[in-house]
Protein backbone atom coordinates (compact mmCIF):
# COMPACT_ATOMS: atom_id res chain seq x y z
CA UNK A 1 0.00 0.00 0.00
CA UNK A 2 1.62 3.31 -1.07
CA UNK A 3 1.82 6.10 1.49
CA UNK A 4 2.33 9.81 0.87
CA UNK A 5 3.65 12.68 2.95
CA UNK A 6 1.95 15.56 1.16
CA UNK A 7 -1.65 16.77 1.33
CA UNK A 8 -2.42 18.52 -1.98
CA UNK A 9 -5.55 20.67 -1.95
CA UNK A 10 -6.81 22.88 -4.77
CA UNK A 11 -9.69 25.30 -4.24
CA UNK A 12 -12.19 26.22 -6.90
CA UNK A 13 -15.50 27.99 -7.61
CA UNK A 14 -18.89 26.84 -6.27
CA UNK A 15 -20.06 23.46 -7.54
CA UNK A 16 -22.69 25.15 -9.71
CA UNK A 17 -19.89 26.72 -11.78
CA UNK A 18 -17.66 23.68 -12.11
CA UNK A 19 -16.97 21.67 -15.22
CA UNK A 20 -16.85 18.02 -14.22
CA UNK A 21 -15.17 14.96 -15.73
CA UNK A 22 -15.60 11.36 -14.62
CA UNK A 23 -12.61 9.06 -14.33
CA UNK A 24 -13.56 5.44 -13.76
CA UNK A 25 -11.36 2.48 -12.78
CA UNK A 26 -13.77 -0.02 -14.38
CA UNK A 27 -11.78 -0.81 -17.52
CA UNK A 28 -14.50 0.62 -19.77
CA UNK A 29 -14.02 1.38 -23.44
CA UNK A 30 -15.83 1.50 -26.73
CA UNK A 31 -16.14 -1.83 -28.59
CA UNK A 32 -13.83 -0.57 -31.34
CA UNK A 33 -11.08 0.30 -28.84
CA UNK A 34 -8.42 -2.23 -27.91
CA UNK A 35 -9.28 -4.19 -24.77
CA UNK A 36 -7.21 -3.25 -21.73
CA UNK A 37 -3.94 -5.10 -21.20
CA UNK A 38 -1.43 -4.95 -18.38
CA UNK A 39 1.29 -3.78 -20.75
CA UNK A 40 3.50 -0.96 -19.57
CA UNK A 41 2.12 2.40 -20.69
CA UNK A 42 -1.29 1.02 -21.68
CA UNK A 43 -3.18 2.63 -18.85
CA UNK A 44 -6.31 4.47 -20.00
CA UNK A 45 -8.98 4.84 -22.66
CA UNK A 46 -10.79 8.03 -23.68
CA UNK A 47 -14.58 8.26 -23.32
CA UNK A 48 -16.10 11.13 -25.34
CA UNK A 49 -18.64 13.23 -23.42
CA UNK A 50 -21.40 12.42 -25.91
CA UNK A 51 -20.96 8.67 -25.43
CA UNK A 52 -24.09 6.50 -25.57
CA UNK A 53 -24.75 3.63 -23.19
CA UNK A 54 -24.54 1.23 -26.11
CA UNK A 55 -20.98 2.42 -26.74
CA UNK A 56 -19.29 1.06 -23.62
CA UNK A 57 -18.09 -2.41 -22.69
CA UNK A 58 -15.74 -3.60 -19.95
CA UNK A 59 -12.44 -5.49 -20.18
CA UNK A 60 -11.28 -5.45 -16.57
CA UNK A 61 -8.87 -8.23 -15.59
CA UNK A 62 -10.31 -8.80 -12.10
CA UNK A 63 -12.92 -11.47 -11.37
CA UNK A 64 -13.65 -10.19 -7.88
CA UNK A 65 -16.43 -7.68 -8.37
CA UNK A 66 -20.03 -7.78 -9.52
CA UNK A 67 -20.66 -6.99 -13.19
CA UNK A 68 -24.41 -7.59 -13.27
CA UNK A 69 -25.10 -4.05 -12.03
CA UNK A 70 -23.22 -2.62 -15.01
CA UNK A 71 -25.01 -5.02 -17.35
CA UNK A 72 -28.32 -3.76 -16.03
CA UNK A 73 -27.55 -0.02 -15.89
CA UNK A 74 -24.25 1.60 -16.89
CA UNK A 75 -24.89 4.49 -14.49
CA UNK A 76 -24.17 2.27 -11.50
CA UNK A 77 -20.53 2.28 -12.70
CA UNK A 78 -20.23 5.27 -15.05
CA UNK A 79 -22.97 7.76 -14.06
CA UNK A 80 -22.80 10.00 -17.10
CA UNK A 81 -26.61 10.29 -17.39
CA UNK A 82 -26.74 11.52 -13.79
CA UNK A 83 -23.93 13.99 -14.47
CA UNK A 84 -25.81 15.36 -17.50
CA UNK A 85 -28.94 15.74 -15.35
CA UNK A 86 -26.97 17.58 -12.65
CA UNK A 87 -25.73 19.99 -15.33
CA UNK A 88 -29.29 20.48 -16.66
CA UNK A 89 -30.49 21.20 -13.12
CA UNK A 90 -27.68 23.71 -12.51
CA UNK A 91 -26.17 21.71 -9.66
CA UNK A 92 -22.89 21.54 -11.59
CA UNK A 93 -21.78 24.00 -14.26
CA UNK A 94 -21.16 21.68 -17.21
CA UNK A 95 -20.02 18.24 -18.34
CA UNK A 96 -16.51 17.81 -19.72
CA UNK A 97 -15.94 16.97 -23.37
CA UNK A 98 -13.79 13.97 -22.42
CA UNK A 99 -13.85 11.41 -19.63
CA UNK A 100 -11.33 8.66 -18.99
CA UNK A 101 -11.27 5.03 -17.98
CA UNK A 102 -8.43 3.17 -16.29
CA UNK A 103 -8.32 -0.53 -15.49
CA UNK A 104 -7.75 -0.31 -11.77
CA UNK A 105 -6.09 -3.64 -11.10
CA UNK A 106 -2.57 -2.34 -11.44
CA UNK A 107 -0.15 -0.60 -9.10
CA UNK A 108 -1.32 3.02 -9.40
CA UNK A 109 2.19 4.34 -8.76
CA UNK A 110 2.99 3.17 -12.31
CA UNK A 111 0.40 5.66 -13.52
CA UNK A 112 2.04 8.74 -12.04
CA UNK A 113 3.59 10.06 -15.24
CA UNK A 114 0.47 9.56 -17.36
CA UNK A 115 -1.74 10.78 -14.53
CA UNK A 116 0.15 14.05 -14.41
CA UNK A 117 0.03 14.27 -18.21
CA UNK A 118 -3.73 13.67 -18.11
CA UNK A 119 -4.17 16.53 -15.66
CA UNK A 120 -2.85 18.85 -18.41
CA UNK A 121 -5.50 17.55 -20.80
CA UNK A 122 -8.21 18.02 -18.18
CA UNK A 123 -7.13 21.62 -17.70
CA UNK A 124 -7.27 22.22 -21.45
CA UNK A 125 -10.85 20.89 -21.32
CA UNK A 126 -11.38 23.55 -18.56
CA UNK A 127 -12.24 20.83 -16.04
CA UNK A 128 -12.16 22.04 -12.45
CA UNK A 129 -13.84 19.08 -10.81
CA UNK A 130 -12.90 15.44 -11.35
CA UNK A 131 -15.03 12.64 -9.93
CA UNK A 132 -12.97 9.47 -9.56
CA UNK A 133 -14.93 6.23 -9.28
CA UNK A 134 -13.60 2.78 -8.30
CA UNK A 135 -15.18 -0.51 -9.30
Amino acid sequence: MPTFNTFPWVKGPPLSERRVAIITMAGLHRPEDRPFTRDSGDYYRIIPGNVKSSDLIMSHVSLSFDRSGFQQDWNVVFPIDRLRELADEGIIGSVADYHYSFMGADDPLKWEQQGRFLSGLLKKDKVDGVLLIPI
Partner: protein, 253 residues
Protein backbone atom coordinates in the same frame (compact mmCIF):
# COMPACT_ATOMS: atom_id res chain seq x y z
CA UNK B 1 -7.19 -2.26 -5.66
CA UNK B 2 -9.43 0.18 -7.45
CA UNK B 3 -10.06 2.33 -4.40
CA UNK B 4 -6.27 2.59 -3.99
CA UNK B 5 -6.01 3.64 -7.63
CA UNK B 6 -8.66 6.32 -7.15
CA UNK B 7 -6.76 7.70 -4.17
CA UNK B 8 -3.38 7.77 -5.89
CA UNK B 9 -4.68 9.33 -9.11
CA UNK B 10 -6.59 11.88 -7.10
CA UNK B 11 -3.37 13.00 -5.47
CA UNK B 12 -1.49 13.24 -8.80
CA UNK B 13 -4.23 15.41 -10.34
CA UNK B 14 -4.51 17.64 -7.31
CA UNK B 15 -0.75 18.16 -7.19
CA UNK B 16 -0.99 19.34 -10.79
CA UNK B 17 -3.74 21.83 -9.90
CA UNK B 18 -6.91 19.91 -10.81
CA UNK B 19 -9.47 19.62 -7.96
CA UNK B 20 -10.75 16.10 -7.35
CA UNK B 21 -13.28 14.16 -5.39
CA UNK B 22 -13.83 10.44 -5.34
CA UNK B 23 -15.83 7.48 -4.18
CA UNK B 24 -14.30 4.93 -1.82
CA UNK B 25 -15.52 1.34 -1.68
CA UNK B 26 -12.81 0.30 0.81
CA UNK B 27 -12.50 2.80 3.65
CA UNK B 28 -9.27 1.34 5.02
CA UNK B 29 -7.46 1.91 1.72
CA UNK B 30 -8.66 5.49 1.54
CA UNK B 31 -7.56 6.14 5.12
CA UNK B 32 -4.04 4.98 4.22
CA UNK B 33 -3.69 6.87 0.95
CA UNK B 34 -5.41 10.05 2.14
CA UNK B 35 -6.67 11.55 -1.13
CA UNK B 36 -7.93 15.13 -0.81
CA UNK B 37 -11.65 14.28 -0.75
CA UNK B 38 -13.46 10.94 -0.60
CA UNK B 39 -17.00 9.73 -0.04
CA UNK B 40 -17.06 6.24 1.45
CA UNK B 41 -20.06 4.20 0.36
CA UNK B 42 -21.27 0.90 1.90
CA UNK B 43 -21.92 -0.78 -1.43
CA UNK B 44 -20.92 -4.01 -3.13
CA UNK B 45 -17.72 -4.03 -5.21
CA UNK B 46 -18.72 -3.37 -8.81
CA UNK B 47 -21.60 -1.06 -7.84
CA UNK B 48 -20.00 2.23 -6.73
CA UNK B 49 -23.25 4.16 -7.29
CA UNK B 50 -25.20 1.59 -5.28
CA UNK B 51 -28.35 0.72 -7.19
CA UNK B 52 -28.91 -0.01 -10.87
CA UNK B 53 -32.02 1.63 -12.34
CA UNK B 54 -32.48 3.95 -9.37
CA UNK B 55 -31.61 7.43 -10.68
CA UNK B 56 -32.67 9.22 -7.49
CA UNK B 57 -30.41 7.08 -5.32
CA UNK B 58 -27.51 7.41 -7.77
CA UNK B 59 -27.96 11.16 -7.83
CA UNK B 60 -27.78 11.40 -4.06
CA UNK B 61 -24.45 9.57 -4.14
CA UNK B 62 -23.17 11.84 -6.91
CA UNK B 63 -24.16 15.05 -5.16
CA UNK B 64 -22.67 13.88 -1.86
CA UNK B 65 -19.35 13.17 -3.61
CA UNK B 66 -19.34 16.37 -5.69
CA UNK B 67 -20.29 18.58 -2.72
CA UNK B 68 -16.97 17.67 -1.16
CA UNK B 69 -15.35 19.91 -3.79
CA UNK B 70 -16.73 22.86 -1.77
CA UNK B 71 -15.25 21.70 1.55
CA UNK B 72 -12.95 24.30 3.14
CA UNK B 73 -10.05 22.00 4.02
CA UNK B 74 -8.86 18.40 3.87
CA UNK B 75 -7.95 15.65 3.41
CA UNK B 76 -11.39 14.39 4.34
CA UNK B 77 -13.41 11.20 4.18
CA UNK B 78 -17.15 11.51 4.51
CA UNK B 79 -19.44 8.51 5.00
CA UNK B 80 -22.50 8.22 2.77
CA UNK B 81 -25.41 7.83 5.21
CA UNK B 82 -27.60 5.44 3.23
CA UNK B 83 -27.38 1.72 2.55
CA UNK B 84 -28.70 0.28 -0.67
CA UNK B 85 -32.46 -0.08 -0.19
CA UNK B 86 -33.42 -3.58 0.93
CA UNK B 87 -35.29 -5.49 -1.73
CA UNK B 88 -38.96 -6.04 -1.04
CA UNK B 89 -39.00 -8.87 -3.56
CA UNK B 90 -38.73 -12.47 -2.51
CA UNK B 91 -35.31 -14.04 -2.96
CA UNK B 92 -35.20 -15.11 -6.55
CA UNK B 93 -33.97 -18.55 -7.46
CA UNK B 94 -32.89 -18.41 -11.04
CA UNK B 95 -33.43 -21.28 -13.39
CA UNK B 96 -33.23 -21.75 -17.09
CA UNK B 97 -36.40 -23.65 -18.00
CA UNK B 98 -34.24 -26.45 -19.35
CA UNK B 99 -31.45 -27.62 -17.11
CA UNK B 100 -28.68 -29.07 -19.21
CA UNK B 101 -26.13 -29.26 -16.45
CA UNK B 102 -27.25 -32.47 -14.76
CA UNK B 103 -25.84 -35.20 -16.97
CA UNK B 104 -22.99 -33.42 -18.61
CA UNK B 105 -19.67 -32.60 -16.96
CA UNK B 106 -19.89 -35.73 -14.85
CA UNK B 107 -20.33 -37.69 -18.04
CA UNK B 108 -17.37 -39.22 -19.78
CA UNK B 109 -18.91 -38.43 -23.13
CA UNK B 110 -17.06 -35.34 -24.30
CA UNK B 111 -19.16 -34.97 -27.40
CA UNK B 112 -22.32 -34.95 -25.31
CA UNK B 113 -20.85 -32.23 -23.13
CA UNK B 114 -20.07 -30.11 -26.17
CA UNK B 115 -23.59 -30.61 -27.51
CA UNK B 116 -25.10 -29.68 -24.14
CA UNK B 117 -23.04 -26.51 -24.04
CA UNK B 118 -24.11 -25.56 -27.55
CA UNK B 119 -27.75 -26.29 -26.72
CA UNK B 120 -27.59 -24.16 -23.60
CA UNK B 121 -26.11 -21.24 -25.53
CA UNK B 122 -28.82 -21.57 -28.14
CA UNK B 123 -31.53 -21.86 -25.47
CA UNK B 124 -30.52 -18.51 -24.04
CA UNK B 125 -30.12 -16.75 -27.40
CA UNK B 126 -33.74 -15.57 -27.69
CA UNK B 127 -33.64 -14.11 -24.18
CA UNK B 128 -30.31 -12.44 -24.85
CA UNK B 129 -31.78 -10.84 -27.98
CA UNK B 130 -34.74 -9.59 -25.94
CA UNK B 131 -32.33 -8.20 -23.32
CA UNK B 132 -30.38 -6.27 -25.95
CA UNK B 133 -33.55 -4.94 -27.49
CA UNK B 134 -34.99 -3.88 -24.15
CA UNK B 135 -31.85 -2.27 -22.79
CA UNK B 136 -30.64 -0.88 -26.08
CA UNK B 137 -27.17 -2.17 -25.30
CA UNK B 138 -25.08 -5.17 -24.41
CA UNK B 139 -21.86 -5.53 -22.45
CA UNK B 140 -20.88 -8.58 -24.52
CA UNK B 141 -18.17 -7.73 -27.02
CA UNK B 142 -14.75 -7.23 -25.48
CA UNK B 143 -13.36 -10.42 -27.07
CA UNK B 144 -14.78 -9.59 -30.49
CA UNK B 145 -15.96 -13.22 -30.79
CA UNK B 146 -19.45 -14.55 -31.35
CA UNK B 147 -20.83 -16.34 -28.30
CA UNK B 148 -21.07 -19.66 -30.13
CA UNK B 149 -17.40 -19.34 -31.04
CA UNK B 150 -16.61 -18.58 -27.40
CA UNK B 151 -18.41 -21.77 -26.38
CA UNK B 152 -16.31 -23.75 -28.86
CA UNK B 153 -13.12 -22.05 -27.68
CA UNK B 154 -13.79 -22.79 -24.02
CA UNK B 155 -14.87 -26.36 -24.67
CA UNK B 156 -11.79 -26.96 -26.79
CA UNK B 157 -9.59 -25.49 -24.09
CA UNK B 158 -11.06 -27.90 -21.54
CA UNK B 159 -10.32 -30.85 -23.78
CA UNK B 160 -6.84 -29.94 -25.00
CA UNK B 161 -5.36 -27.34 -22.64
CA UNK B 162 -4.37 -25.43 -25.75
CA UNK B 163 -5.59 -22.10 -26.92
CA UNK B 164 -5.43 -20.89 -30.45
CA UNK B 165 -6.48 -17.27 -30.62
CA UNK B 166 -8.65 -16.49 -33.63
CA UNK B 167 -7.43 -12.90 -33.25
CA UNK B 168 -3.91 -11.94 -34.20
CA UNK B 169 -3.92 -8.79 -32.08
CA UNK B 170 -4.67 -10.43 -28.71
CA UNK B 171 -2.47 -13.08 -27.03
CA UNK B 172 -4.36 -16.35 -26.43
CA UNK B 173 -4.47 -16.11 -22.63
CA UNK B 174 -5.76 -12.51 -22.76
CA UNK B 175 -8.41 -13.63 -25.24
CA UNK B 176 -9.47 -16.43 -22.89
CA UNK B 177 -10.11 -13.87 -20.14
CA UNK B 178 -12.07 -11.54 -22.42
CA UNK B 179 -14.01 -14.45 -23.91
CA UNK B 180 -14.96 -15.84 -20.51
CA UNK B 181 -16.15 -12.37 -19.41
CA UNK B 182 -18.25 -12.11 -22.56
CA UNK B 183 -19.60 -15.59 -21.95
CA UNK B 184 -20.76 -14.75 -18.44
CA UNK B 185 -22.20 -11.42 -19.59
CA UNK B 186 -24.22 -13.24 -22.29
CA UNK B 187 -25.67 -15.64 -19.72
CA UNK B 188 -26.41 -12.93 -17.15
CA UNK B 189 -28.03 -10.58 -19.64
CA UNK B 190 -30.14 -13.43 -21.04
CA UNK B 191 -31.39 -14.84 -17.73
CA UNK B 192 -32.28 -11.40 -16.35
CA UNK B 193 -34.48 -10.78 -19.39
CA UNK B 194 -36.72 -13.68 -18.37
CA UNK B 195 -39.98 -12.91 -16.54
CA UNK B 196 -39.59 -12.41 -12.79
CA UNK B 197 -35.81 -12.46 -12.94
CA UNK B 198 -35.12 -8.86 -13.91
CA UNK B 199 -33.91 -7.84 -10.46
CA UNK B 200 -31.92 -10.89 -9.47
CA UNK B 201 -29.19 -10.09 -6.99
CA UNK B 202 -25.58 -10.53 -7.98
CA UNK B 203 -25.41 -13.49 -5.56
CA UNK B 204 -28.40 -15.19 -7.17
CA UNK B 205 -26.83 -14.74 -10.59
CA UNK B 206 -23.49 -16.06 -9.38
CA UNK B 207 -25.08 -19.13 -7.79
CA UNK B 208 -27.14 -19.81 -10.90
CA UNK B 209 -24.22 -19.54 -13.30
CA UNK B 210 -21.76 -21.66 -11.34
CA UNK B 211 -24.21 -24.25 -9.98
CA UNK B 212 -26.86 -24.61 -12.67
CA UNK B 213 -25.31 -24.05 -16.07
CA UNK B 214 -23.13 -26.20 -18.30
CA UNK B 215 -21.02 -23.13 -19.06
CA UNK B 216 -20.22 -22.64 -15.38
CA UNK B 217 -19.40 -26.29 -14.92
CA UNK B 218 -17.13 -26.35 -17.97
CA UNK B 219 -15.23 -23.31 -16.72
CA UNK B 220 -14.93 -24.83 -13.25
CA UNK B 221 -13.72 -28.06 -14.85
CA UNK B 222 -10.98 -26.13 -16.69
CA UNK B 223 -9.82 -24.65 -13.41
CA UNK B 224 -9.81 -28.03 -11.65
CA UNK B 225 -8.06 -29.78 -14.53
CA UNK B 226 -5.25 -27.30 -15.14
CA UNK B 227 -4.72 -25.29 -11.95
CA UNK B 228 -1.74 -27.46 -11.00
CA UNK B 229 -0.36 -27.88 -14.51
CA UNK B 230 3.40 -27.71 -14.96
CA UNK B 231 2.81 -25.32 -17.84
CA UNK B 232 3.04 -21.91 -16.18
CA UNK B 233 0.81 -20.02 -18.65
CA UNK B 234 -1.82 -22.75 -18.57
CA UNK B 235 -1.74 -22.86 -14.78
CA UNK B 236 -2.05 -19.06 -14.56
CA UNK B 237 -4.97 -18.95 -16.97
CA UNK B 238 -6.78 -21.79 -15.18
CA UNK B 239 -6.30 -20.21 -11.77
CA UNK B 240 -6.85 -16.56 -12.52
CA UNK B 241 -8.97 -16.02 -15.61
CA UNK B 242 -12.15 -18.03 -15.27
CA UNK B 243 -13.50 -18.65 -11.78
CA UNK B 244 -13.60 -16.01 -9.04
CA UNK B 245 -11.53 -17.16 -6.06
CA UNK B 246 -14.47 -16.92 -3.66
CA UNK B 247 -16.70 -18.95 -5.97
CA UNK B 248 -14.09 -21.71 -6.19
CA UNK B 249 -13.42 -21.66 -2.45
CA UNK B 250 -17.09 -22.02 -1.48
CA UNK B 251 -17.64 -24.86 -3.92
CA UNK B 252 -14.60 -26.81 -2.77
CA UNK B 253 -16.10 -27.29 0.69
Amino acid sequence: MCTRAVGALSRFFEEEGVPTTGISLVRLHTEKIKPPRALWVPFELGRPLGMPDDPAFQKRVMVAALKLLEAPAGPLIEDFPEDVPASTEEVITLACPVNFAQATVASEDAEQLHESLKSEIACLRAWYDIAVERRGRTTVGSSGLDVAAIGDLIYSFLQTGKLESPRNDIPPTNLLKLASDDFKAYYFEAITAQPGQEYASSQALTDWFWDETVAGKVMMAIKNKYENSEDRALRGAARGFLVPREVARLRKR
